[in-house]
């Protein structure tokens, strides 16, 4: 390891904006003079809103003066705004809690309400068992019927209740295939065209991987998956698929062949976004704890839009991943409250992780001649322990020195968990992109944690003692019960369900090993194509930008209810 010069300091603009009129390298500051929560327009808004709620319902609510520490409200120090990294947009911290951010809610809604269902099995049943003809024309007709039925409309029976289209406008089905000839014969409105959506090299790899199979990318209504759960998605979709086949191909509604179609739609041909969890966590499929990191890195699409910047692609996964896994999964499904948000946002605000990661890119280029801006498997470095140690050590030391030299940045990431996650993430991303090996990246993460702990004699929350100190031993072995490929790990991997500030970064470390190689996908070509859909409410190529839009209240989500409630 040897420090290299890098003068850009991507975090400087954010620090100067946050600490206006102050020397961002000063070691002292003024405190206790900021008038508490009154310095935050958003918290003032909360107080006003709460008074209105209290008048309406007659029960007390938000009262930071009376209820915070017996009369000492938040805001004895400067309450800071945050720049959502890579966007230039400054937001209130409160607006990055998912309750206050409709884009964050929609990102998770869009994943939870998605399943991918194979059509080949159904087509074989129709052709071989029932003697029906399946052509591009019949497929088009079926898709018209399905897009009528999937949101909740009747296609076979008389006198049925149906859902209001204005409430389920986010529900639809498209198809995709690696058979470009077939794709060209289908109505464009229904097709996810791999050649048009992806850069040429990625499109070629994806088409080859998908092959001649035809797949349905299904998004059931947000309202349905919210009212029920992720396990509903495949059931809702399978019911509507079965009814649509019956209607489109004029089948008998009760004949035994329908069972084949149902079985294909419910089980044999279904790709869930997440596997179900064991009883102690008690969640069905398509809930956050079951999303493999390889799948999550395919859901996020930044490497499609920015194929020559694997660092940015990875940082988008960090942002999306910490939001989903820390704020929603650990922070609410598993725990509750608001604390997790404060930790998670550190990884996608103020360009701090971005700076540390690009330092790693410069170091890899300088020392190992890795041309990271032209991702390819050709120049990846063999992930020996020595090289992993070198990359992780240098990135970690640089990051610690930046915190030391910019005390306002240390103040920005005021918790050790925040700093630990960010420093280890930069180490892991650098190593993954440099070596093209996700487990090497995870191994770098754990060395970073150990270095950090010894350098500052502190790390993160209690749990870091376990997760990050036993991690070295489980990061490279593939023996059952001792380790696993990063791509196949997930939030429920042993010891991963403990700490905020880890899972989103792990997902990105996995993804970055592929982005650094220029791979078209990390784990599933089907998932990659499915989420390239421009019709989705949430743009998975720009999760951080979407979160910023949500924070400044410019994001329009699904899940409309104003049609069925009294006008305000």
């Amino acid at each position: 390891m040897a420090k290299i010069e890098r003068t850009q300091k991507l975090f400087l603009q954010a620090l100067k904006e946050k600490f206006q009129g102050q020397d961002v390298q000063s070691e002292t500051a003024e405190y206790y003079k900021f008038n508490g929560y009154h310095q935050s327009p958003r918290k003032e808004e909360f107080v006003k809103a709460s008074r209105a709620v209290e008048m309406d319902r007659g029960i007390s609510m938000y009262n930071p003066v009376r209820c915070h520490l017996g009369g000492i409200p938040l805001g004895q120090r400067q309450l800071m705004t945050y720049e959502v990294s890579g966007t230039g947009v400054f937001v209130e911290g409160d607006d990055l809690h998912f309750v206050n951010n409709s884009a964050m809610q929609q990102m998770w809604d869009d994943i939870r309400r998605t399943v991918i269902v194979n059509m080949d099995l159904a087509h074989q049943t129709l052709q071989k068992r029932l003697g029906k003809e399946v052509t591009p024309e019949t497929i088009n007709e079926y898709l018209h019927v399905l897009n009528h039925a999937m949101p909740g409309a009747a296609v076979v029976q008389e006198h049925m209740v149906e859902t209001h289209p204005g409430l389920v406008d986010d529900c639809y089905v498209k198809v995709f295939t690696g058979d470009q000839e077939l794709a060209d014969d289908l109505e464009p409105q229904f097709v996810l065209d791999v050649e048009k959506l992806f850069p040429a090299k990625q499109a070629e790899a994806l088409s080859a991987a998908v092959g001649k199979s035809l797949w349905q990318a299904i998004h059931i209504p947000t309202t349905v998956s919210r009212t029920c759960d992720g396990g509903t998605t495949s059931r809702w979709s399978a019911m509507q698929i079965g009814m649509s086949f019956i209607a489109a191909y004029r089948m008998c509604a009760g004949e035994a062949a329908v069972a084949d179609l149902s079985y294909a739609a419910k089980h044999a041909g279904v790709i869930q976004m997440a596997s179900h969890l064991p009883a102690r966590r008690a969640r069905g499929p398509n809930e956050p704890g079951g999303i493999m990191f390889g799948v999550f890195s395919d859901i996020i699409q930044a490497n499609r839009k920015y194929p020559n910047d694997p660092a940015k692609a990875s940082l988008e996964v960090v942002g999306a991943g910490t939001m989903l896994f820390d704020q929603i999964w650990l922070g609410s499904y598993m725990s509750g409250g608001v604390g997790f948000t404060q930790y998670a946002t550190a990884a996608y605000t103020d360009n701090i992780l971005d700076e540390f990661t690009y330092y790693g890119m410069d170091y890899a280029k300088d020392k190992y001649k890795v041309d990271w801006k032209n991702p390819s498997p050709g120049d990846k470095v063999k992930p020996t322990q020595e090289i992993v140690n070198d990359l992780a050590t240098e990135v970690t030391l640089n990051a610690m020195e930046q915190y030391e030299q910019y005390p306002t940045m240390m103040e920005d990431h005021f918790g050790g968990s925040q700093r630990a996650g960010v420093i280890a993430a930069a180490s892991g991303l650098t190593t993954s992109i440099t070596t093209g090996n996700s487990n090497a990246g995870l191994n770098a993460w754990y060395l970073s944690m150990l270095l950090h702990k010894d350098g500052w004699s502190r790390l993160g929350f209690f749990g870091y003692d376990l997760q990050d100190q036993c991690g070295s031993a489980n990061s490279l072995s593939m023996v059952s019960d001792r380790g696993l490929m990063g791509e196949l790990r997930g939030p429920n991997y042993p010891n991963y369900a403990m700490n905020v500030g880890h899972q989103g970064e792990y997902a990105a470390i996995v993804g970055s090993s592929h982005y650094g190689r220029g791979d078209a996908f990390c784990y599933s070509p089907l998932v990659k194509v499915c989420f390239a859909d421009p019709s989705l409410k949430f743009d998975f190529a720009e999760p951080r930008r979407e979160f910023a839009k949500g924070a400044i209240r410019e994001f329009m989500p699904a899940g409309e209810r104003s049609l069925i409630i009294p006008a305000r």
Partner: protein, 253 residues
């Protein structure tokens, strides 16, 4: 061969300071006098002079099972008396405070008996029987492990360890449990969980910057000892990591 503790690696001053704090054969330098009563006030667990509340009868008065471990381990005074378990918790400024969370835990483990430390980034707690706690707390507060300005005794709302120092040199504390007087003396006006005290407790003057930088146990590249400069320390951590990684493969040798 008897185990001989090494108290950690490193060739730097920081590493040396760490070893000194940990090594129980090295006497910690006494920096201030704080009375037993004042310690009790800061802790806030019982009123000065009040009897120690108990969790169980004194060991001598209860039937002890026939246990070989109990024969080997001599109970502490607090355990003997059946005291309840209470705590002291510290926040240490990253701007060259003398002690830091893991360092505190290691030091306490080497120097004290019957303790249960917990280590986080912004705070470090140690729990033990109440009369033992008061004895240990006195040592933790009176010696070089504490600086009046950059070490906080904080049971809750510990926020401050990573923040810039206030302009008077004090570490930020939302509850302002301790204040720097015009006479240069720091006084606790609230106990560790922020309840106002009937009288202020003086814990002396802040240590000067030069002393702190010479005695701190944190690496810091801005005016202190850069971590990068202690090659032995870095190599040690890398070695631990590499061996742990290798152990993941369950090597036979």
């Amino acid at each position: 061969m008897a185990y001989k503790p090494q108290y950690g690696p490193g060739t730097s001053k920081v590493a040396e300071n760490r070893r000194k704090q940990m090594n129980p054969s090295q006497k910690l330098e006494k920096m201030r006098d704080v009375t037993d009563e004042d310690i009790v006030l800061i802790l806030g667990h019982r009123a000065p002079g009040a009897a120690y509340p108990t969790a169980h009868p004194p060991l001598a008065e209860q039937q002890e099972p026939d246990c070989p471990i109990r024969k080997i381990v001599t109970p502490t005074d607090g355990a003997k008396a059946g005291d309840r378990v209470r705590y002291i918790q510290f926040a240490d400024s990253m701007f060259f405070a003398p002690c830091h969370p893991y360092q505190r835990t290691y030091t306490e483990c080497y120097r004290f008996r019957g303790i249960d430390p917990g280590t986080l980034s912004g705070r470090q707690i140690v729990e033990c029987r109440e009369r033992d706690l008061e004895k240990y707390s006195k040592e933790l507060v009176e010696t070089e492990l504490l600086d009046a300005a950059r070490t906080g005794i904080r049971g809750a709302t510990v926020h401050g360890h990573s923040l810039r120092l206030a302009e008077n040199g004090m570490m930020f504390d939302m509850l302002q449990r301790s204040v720097l007087g015009e006479d240069g003396i720091v006084r606790y006006v609230k106990n560790q969980i922020g309840e106002p005290l009937d009288r202020a407790v003086a814990i002396g003057k802040p240590l000067d910057e030069k002393w702190l930088k010479a005695h701190t146990t944190i690496f810091h590249s801005l005016g202190g000892t850069p971590y990068r400069d202690d090659a032995e320390y870095i190599e040690y951590v890398q070695r631990i990591h590499s061996l742990r990684t290798k152990y993941g493969f369950m090597p036979k040798e």
